[in-house]
Amino acid sequence: MRKAKESLVLLLAGGAGSRLNILVQKRAKPAVPFGGIYRIIDFSLSNVMNSGLQKVGVLTQYKPLSLMDHLSTGEAWDFTGRNRGIQILPPRTGELDSDWYKGTADAVRRNLDYIKSNPADEVVILSGDHIYHMDLDAMIEFHRSKRADVTIAMMVVPKSEIHQFGAGITDKFDRIVDWEEKPKEPKTNLASMGIYVFDYNYLIDTLSKDKEEVDFGMHILQRAIRNDNVFAYPFYGYWRDVGTIQSYWEANMDVIRKDSGISPQKWNIRTNIETMGRFADRPPARFGFNARVKSSLISAGSNIQGEVINSVLAPGVTVEEGAIVKDSVLFADCMVKKGAVVDYSILDKGGHIGAGAVVGTGDNHSTVNKLNPSHLYTGITLIGKGSEVPAEQKIGRNCVINSSVKEQDYPGKSIEDGESLFSRS
């Protein structure tokens, strides 16, 4: 018989994830919708649930409302019951009114009272930002068998990407002997996934030492590697940060592709369908007589009369006759009117594309977004939450139409590649 381990989980869900541009204009990154009916945080929460862990504290900071609504009582992930619970830990200031969390370790340190009031053998610290499937129970078992003070989940990434991560050098016993934080010239390709198992008492001790140590990767872990027992738990499998528009889009497309390694259903990923007033409580998807659909993920409550190719549709999306949606991700309740085209774009919730409009015109993917060249540079166009694209409007590549833009905000019938448009009200 397998008995659930009594480890406390802390989920860091406060990050803004600002490279996701308008997708995080009204919500924190963990609350960004993903794969039709899910949100990014569902993957971490479901991993916790499927690992038999029962107590979770969720640290919020940036735009937490949407997230709190989604977490609700935690029932969707089976966190309700006598010994179970999910607790939202809102940010709190330190001595000064102005000091918000200065880093991951600082955030956990400010919640030491929560940790102390929930005694456990280990504290598992994860972020709510990633798409992956992992058995945390096995990781805790590994941690115990190594008698580690800290265990860090690590995976091999291409050398070209290691500069975004904490990188560890291990000996043959998986002990981490050296560490480089976001190295420019890496000596290793073993990257930290930001998932840590700490011995309970060790965590309390180490956080109590020096308040200037505000970040796990920069401070706490490096000192631990020098002085204590830190091990790398090797992870093999699908794991994506989805921190950029491009990687977010690609991970969504992975759900459609066979053999990409991601399968929410097989991974037993749960979501809360009652967020936003039972947003996913809808009848089956409806397909019309002239529907043409392939290689797509389509959620209940959608109504497809036109063409959908290689796209991910959340609940309640309507694609009218003669409309084409291709290589795109559409959030809940988007409307694509007759004859409109949506190509290589991401439409936030409630986007309305007028008849005959084209979102994503032409083949020029290389004119980057002028306002945020580091966000949009591969050709993807973004339409913000509740925005309108008027009938017959043309919108180019790498464009951003901000949230709540209305018909009168458009300067003309064509938005050039790389432009952004804001609501004037």
Partner: protein
Amino acid sequence: MLKPTTLAIVLAGGRVDELNVLTYFRPKSAVPFGGFGRVIDFSLSNLMNSGIEQVALLSQYRSFSLINHIGTGAAWDMVGRYRHVSILPPFIGNDAADWYRGSADAVYKNLDFVKYHKPEEILIISGDHIYKMDYLDLIEYHYEKGADLTIAFTKVPQDEAHRFGLASLDDEDGIRGGRVTDYQEKPQNPQSNWASMTVMCFKPEVLYRALEENQAGESFHFGQDIIPMLLQGQYKVYGYKFDGYWGYTRTINEYWQSSMDLLGSEPLIDLDKWVFRTNLDHRQIRDNEPLLLGDSAVVTNSLIYNGCKVGGTVKNSILFPGVHVKSGATVENSVLFFNNIVGEGSHLNKVVSDVNNSFGPGSVVGAEVSDEGADVTVLGGNNQIPEKTHIGVGATVYPEIADKRWPEHVDSGEVLR
């Protein structure tokens, strides 16, 4: 605080022989419908949308599926201080060693529960029908007329009329309703085609008295006994005329037809507009990922719920969660319940298939060429159909046929037990 005054009683226990293999393990009201719900969800959604939130459910036959389906009642917003749904299973009385002997007997045996709620009006409805009705409008009419009993009636084709409880109605209130002057349960020579929808609003004391009196008799049904008794006793019985869609599913062909009414560009049953709700915790259907369509998928005029995977062709069909249509397979004019697997190159036409059936590659079920008048082919659940099996038009396959008992051909109209 404003307290609710209506108590609704849903008659949900019946099994219908004509529906046969689909009601082998569940009452008729729990038969899947609409790609993710159950037949009873129409009544429960009507109650929710009418704001009637004190509900009792009378079950008898194979209650398990129904009890599971209702859960806490939260799906229909029936959880709260004065909001509830209570399932009243049958029990054996003090004197008589019998189970429910009919719908009226079932309510009679639970009169203590009914009276405890001190209702000002009692709405008794069947859980077996497919329609959208605002019960408050009927209750309002009931009060306008000062009626003892108000029953909803709808017009059915004259040649079908003998299958229903029929009323003669006068035109006191035109298209709204009128006084019931005569009522006959399933008469051989129908004089009217106003069929009872089994939606009845009673004045409580009239109901209590009628049920008491009825106990002395030998038959215990609302249609057969209670309504005629009240008419005879000069009670004020009114008919509320309903002209919306009313689907009844007493035979496999009717079940299939009602399902097809979900499809088309102007569907007669529009689940979205009707604000149809089901319990997504039942069978954990909430945990299904969205529908996944392969690169050679063709899907037209169909309803498909989350959890399905379609690699082949689906036309004019309804797929419940967990159905896989493999590439090269074709499903048309069919209704496939939860977790059916349709193997490569199979062809299903005008089929109703209960849960967990798998069709081996190359099987052919129903007409190879579409024929409007063809009978429906129906399969009970948990069958593993061997590859290349032919099952003819209008055949009936019982649930859980043992592997070694499968013939290569099941003839048209044959019953495989």
